[in-house]
């Protein structure tokens, strides 16, 4: 009834696409990678994922109740944040780490700036970097019952050899959701086929990263090294699920390419010349900060409006 009585100006576009719809598909497409993480690291990983999701959703609920705001946990965006945060943690972390991360992600990065759509930075990545800086020892402890050595990326940085096949399937140490390239790509294909994300950002990100590695990686065009770099660490997860976050990526087409190339170059710089083997999360949050600037300079010209002549 209420739908029938709505009066609004044309054009009347009808669409079944809603925020909660999109977010639910993102959750579903994250499940293969999360599921592989649980299979790979055991029950510990499942518990970390559940705690992480629970803490983000509860934080959003409690904050909105306390501030007398409409409750928005029904749009599943907090679930996505929680799931991504959990997948960015090693399975060995103590239970309170995802709780702190979840509260930080929702309260500081998202809600204080006005909730979904207003956050200037991907909440899950903001929280991951917060935890990584605050508890470096806990956040880089990848030793589990099955995997004892360093992560493949760290081994690669030290000049040791790695098995690329293992890295693509995901039989390596690392954070819960990042190890299996195949599972992540399956999830990404779902999103791309549904039209929820497109290949502009991930494509330009990965291509520019590969070009950067060929030029400055120190190994020349070495297929093994490059595929190991692509399959290792958070690159795939970051490129498909975090760099494409609607809120914190540019909406203009040219802007998307610029943003992707920036991420690729920054990730390359962090990985090749930085002290740590990993650099995806820092690259993406740096990129997030540049988004307003990129959008401003790639604003498309409105039809019929001439470019402003430069004043002499």
């Amino acid at each position: 009834m209420s739908d029938m009585m709505k009066v609004s100006s044309n054009p009347h576009v009808r669409s079944k696409v809603t925020t909660s719809n999109i977010m639910m598909w993102v959750v579903i497409s994250l499940l293969p990678a999360a599921g592989y993480g649980v299979y790979n690291f055991g029950v510990d990983a499942l518990i970390i994922l559940l705690i992480s999701v629970a803490s983000t959703v509860l934080t959003e609920l409690i904050y909105e109740k306390c501030m007398h705001k409409p409750v928005t946990i029904g749009d599943y965006s907090a679930v996505v944040t929680g799931l991504l945060l959990g997948m960015n943690l090693p399975s060995t972390v103590p239970w309170w780490l995802p709780v702190i991360g979840g509260v930080f992600a929702i309260l500081v990065v998202k809600m204080v700036f006005g909730g979904l759509g207003q956050n200037f930075m991907n909440p899950a990545l903001g929280a991951r970097c917060f935890l990584l800086i605050s508890f470096p020892a806990l956040m880089t402890n990848f030793v589990t019952d099955t995997y004892t050595g360093a992560t493949p990326l760290a081994a690669l940085k030290n000049g040791e050899s790695v098995t690329v096949m293992d890295m693509i399937i995901g039989r390596t140490g690392g954070t819960i959701g990042e190890t299996s390239m195949i599972a992540i790509v399956i999830g990404a294909c779902i999103l791309i086929m549904l039209g929820i994300i497109d290949l502009k950002i991930p494509g330009s990100y990965i291509v520019s990263f590969v070009i950067f590695l060929c030029l400055f990686g120190g190994h020349g065009i070495d297929p093994v090294y490059i595929s190991a770099q692509l399959a290792g660490g958070g690159l795939m997860l970051g490129a498909f699920f975090m760099a494409t976050d609607y809120v914190t990526s540019p909406i203009t087409n040219r802007g998307k390419y610029i943003y992707g190339i920036f991420l690729g170059v920054m990730t390359g710089i962090f990985r090749c010349f930085g002290s740590s083997a990993e650099g995806v999360s820092y690259a993406i949050i740096l990129g997030n900060l540049l988004v307003p600037l990129i959008e401003r300079y790639t604003m498309p010209r409105a039809f019929g409006i001439r470019k402003e002549a430069k004043k002499a």
Partner: protein
């Protein structure tokens, strides 16, 4: 601001020493209300002891330079007042720096370049320009004391919070985390604490400062809701622009009575 009887905060006589000190400590707290002097606030507050030293050094310079500038303000030509202020302030900063080097070398090392940088501290310039160059010596001196103590309190608070959260110590005494000085079962519980390192890094200063300013605004808003005269609160503070309506309203009602 009408009438001959100008009253300051708390109904104290305007420009009396007590009113000036209270004004600097709370009403126009330089860090939390006026939000000036942010550079040392964010840079040196990694520990409570750093904060307190920096604050007291600034208070010393602020009080004496305010007094001297108030004394000289009729002599200083308006066009060259900024260089003249700098000369006065820089002399006192040199005194402080030499004293610190002689008697507290370790703290001097910890504060490093920020001691000489007191010369360009915005609070000192601001008070010299806004207050001392227009008022008599005694109120200017106490204005400096009040502002300095307000600054000291604020940055000691920030330093203490950052130190407790970021390294588990308070005034260099380990109270949280491994090696806590608290004995018994409570100590065992406290030793489980993991220091959140980001709080002793630069970003942590912003987190703590934001929380303190939010708390301060909340207190002010509550006081306004209770109908206390808070019209003097936060004049000129950029953080109080949003709720400027309320206090003004309260004032008008009082005047109508």
């Amino acid at each position: 601001m009408s009438g001959e009887k100008k009253k300051g905060a708390l109904g104290l006589k305007m420009d009396s020493p007590m009113e000036r000190v209270f004004n600097g400590l709370i009403v126009e707290n330089p860090t939390l209300v006026l939000m000036i002097g942010m550079c040392p606030t964010l840079a040196v507050t990694t520990s409570a002891i750093n904060g307190i030293t920096m604050g007291l050094a600034t208070t010393f310079v602020l009080a004496l330079s305010n007094a001297v500038i108030a004394l000289l303000h009729k002599i200083i030509p308006d066009t060259v007042r900024i260089p003249a202020f700098i000369v006065v302030i820089a002399s006192f900063v040199t005194v402080v720096q030499l004293l610190l080097e002689a008697y507290m070398p370790s703290l001097n090392d910890a504060l490093g370049v920020y001691i000489p940088l007191i010369v360009v501290n915005c609070i000192i310039f601001g008070r010299a320009e806004a207050y001392a160059s227009k008022h008599a010596v005694v109120p200017s001196f106490f204005d400096g004391i009040g502002m300095g103590l307000g600054f000291t309190c604020a940055i000691t608070c920030i330093g203490l919070l950052r130190e407790i959260i970021g390294s588990g110590t308070a005034f260099s005494v380990q109270i949280l985390g491994e090696g806590t000085v608290v004995p018994g079962a409570v100590g065992k519980f406290l030793s489980m604490y993991q220091p959140v390192r980001i709080f002793v890094m630069q970003a942590g200063a912003f987190f703590v400062l934001a929380c303190l300013i939010a708390t301060m605004n909340r207190i002010k808003r509550n006081m306004a809701a209770k109908g206390k005269d808070t019209s003097k609160f936060g004049v000129g503070g950029c953080c109080t622009v949003n709720d400027a309506g309320k206090p003004v309203k309260v004032k008008h009602e009082k005047e109508a009575d």
